[in-house]
């Protein structure tokens, strides 16, 4: 077993131990953080590893959340088919968006993804009859059972979040050490060179975006299912900025970075919202500080200073 695998399995063990060790308040937070970190890990595949700076990932998160939520609300589907509907929605949307947006690059790509995401957000508001718009809708506890396990119970919810998080973490770890993942990195570093080594970079970027969008959708679907609510605010610009912030803070292009960034930012906002309603001020200051002083993020700094081989 490689050093990297041991390290990441150790991290998963610590998180699992949190289920019995953490006090109730932090136990609930940690479940939420793990699900949001899944979203961040999805974003990291596109941004951190492939260099695709999207400003519209909220549409994939929301596709998962609403794909899952609407399947329950409108089609009375069970939790498992609903989850799968969410994943399919994310995969389908990211494929369509990728086919269009990947014809552009750099700043245009950022704006195109922002615009598509905004259109999705507005569409959720427009079809308020089904989505209940801004207000959103609650997913009843009775619908939140998977294989007979009640996901509204905090302990079960924590384990479910942990399982999803672990699956995505190990998947990412495997992906980035496989040839396909190495090509993503090559595209991030020098796309023209990768193309002239014989790699179909458009296809590689499209697969990166679809993997990224599908994982983000898994995060969105799980968030809705575990915490029992779907709302339009999860599709807003803010939720496209959040994963960028988490990934930048934790370390873009590292496997543990998204979790570190999500954890850090979650508690920063949690603490600051205790004394001001303008908690997004903190997010703004952190973003500026990061671009100025630590573009590599926490795990990026660890990699630079301690261990070059950190995946």
């Amino acid at each position: 077993m490689s050093r990297a695998l041991i390290l990441h399995l150790g991290l998963l063990a610590v998180l699992l131990a949190g289920n019995v060790l953490l006090p109730a308040y932090h136990h609930g937070n940690m479940a939420r953080i793990m699900v949001l970190a899944v979203y961040a890990m999805g974003y990291n595949i596109a941004f951190g590893y492939t260099g695709l700076l999207s400003l519209g990932h909220a549409m994939f998160f929301a596709a998962g959340m609403y794909g899952m939520g609407l399947a329950i609300r409108l089609a009375d589907a069970g939790a498992l088919p609903a989850m799968l509907t969410g994943l399919a929605a994310g995969a389908g949307l990211s494929l369509v968006v990728g086919l269009l947006a990947l014809r552009t690059a750099g700043v245009s790509f950022m704006i195109v993804t922002l615009m598509f995401s905004q259109a999705c957000y507005l569409a959720i508001l427009y079809f308020g009859e089904w989505t209940r718009g801004d207000e959103g809708f609650v997913i009843q506890a009775v619908d939140r059972t998977l294989f007979g396990i009640d996901l509204s119970d905090p302990g079960n919810r924590y384990i479910a979040a942990w399982l999803l998080f672990s699956a995505v973490l190990l998947l990412t770890l495997r992906l980035v050490r496989r040839p396909a993942g190495r090509v993503f990195v090559a595209i991030r570093e020098n796309e023209e060179r990768a193309r002239l080594l014989g790699y179909d970079t458009f296809r590689a970027k499209l697969s990166a975006l679809v993997i990224s969008g599908t994982i983000s959708a898994a995060g969105g679907a799980a968030y809705g299912l575990l915490f029992g609510y779907a709302g339009a605010s999860f599709a807003g610009v803010q939720y496209s900025i959040f994963p960028l912030l988490w990934v930048l803070l934790g370390g873009a292009g590292t496997v543990v970075g998204p979790l570190l960034g999500t954890l850090f930012m979650f508690y920063l906002i949690d603490l600051s919202s205790g004394f001001t309603e303008a908690y997004m001020l903190i997010a703004g200051l952190v973003l500026i500080g990061l671009t100025l002083f630590a573009p590599q993020g926490i795990a990026g700094e660890l990699r630079r200073r301690l261990w070059k081989g950190l995946p």
Binding site: R182, N190, L196, G198
Partner: protein, 243 residues
């Protein structure tokens, strides 16, 4: 003469109405070392950029290994056995030297990690960078980065290697090593060399093609080209001293 591995017919490219390459018919037999020379702005880089697929031609056809590749994207041509090294060094500067070459080998060898490692070690040894495998590419000197580019070309095991000004910026000793390397390679593959350094050209090339104003001015053995009056007038200049 065996069937050419690469040939162009009527290949042309215009930029804003300006003819950079016009109507070039070009044949390259397998296992030849061909040099492409010409004054600055003669259209050499435009020509090879069309060969590899970085820019589309405005007219004409390109055939590689008997198949028309004119409409294929660059990556598909590389997959068929072409390799290209950039005039301006283009490596994955933040990745390790090993990973740079591994990326080149992996497209051919896929997920077989042992085979990739073997190919990488072999390619790096051939260019003399065997001891730098773990360094980041950006930490190499300029000359070493050029050698890394060539190693990336080697690892692809191409049937046609296009080298765009490979000796530019190399020291004399590095050029000597480069010449040895190309002579070895000539036994395994076909090489198309764009080169300014006439000493290198005269010594390495089996045949030389001279481009001037986007057209083929002359083609022949180094001795023939050296004796060609048109070439001397157009390219070697009045005195021909730097030839």
């Amino acid at each position: 003469m065996s069937a050419p591995i690469l040939s162009t017919r009527g290949l042309s490219r215009a930029f804003h109405g300006l003819q950079a390459v016009s109507n070039v018919d070009f044949d390259l037999p397998p296992n030849e070392v061909r040099a492409l020379i010409g004054p600055n702005g003669a259209g050499k880089t435009t020509f090879v950029s069309m060969l590899i697929g970085r820019i589309p031609p405005t007219g004409g056809r390109i055939a590689f290994d008997g198949a028309d590749v004119t409409d294929l994207p660059a990556h598909a041509r590389v997959a068929r056995g072409m390799a290209y090294t950039f005039q301006i060094t283009s490596v994955f500067s933040r990745l390790s030297v090993h990973e740079n070459v591994a990326l080149a080998a992996r497209r051919r060898l896929g997920g077989d990690a042992a085979a990739v490692d073997g190919a990488v070690t072999q390619a790096l040894a051939r260019v003399g960078l065997g001891d730098r495998a773990d360094d980041a590419a950006e930490d190499l000197s300029y000359g070493h980065q050029r050698l890394l580019e060539i190693a990336m070309g080697l690892a692809q095991k191409p049937r046609l290697m296009i080298l765009d000004e490979p000796t530019q910026g190399l020291a004399e000793s590095e050029i000597a090593a480069f010449k040895v390397l190309i002579r070895e390679l000539a036994a395994e593959t076909t090489i198309l060399l764009i080169e300014h350094n006439m000493a290198v050209v005269m010594e390495l090339a089996d045949r030389i093609t001279v481009l001037n104003f986007g057209e083929v001015l002359a083609e022949g053995t180094p001795a023939e080209i050296h004796a060609n009056a048109d070439v001397q007038a157009a390219y070697l200049g009045t005195g021909g001293a730097d030839a």
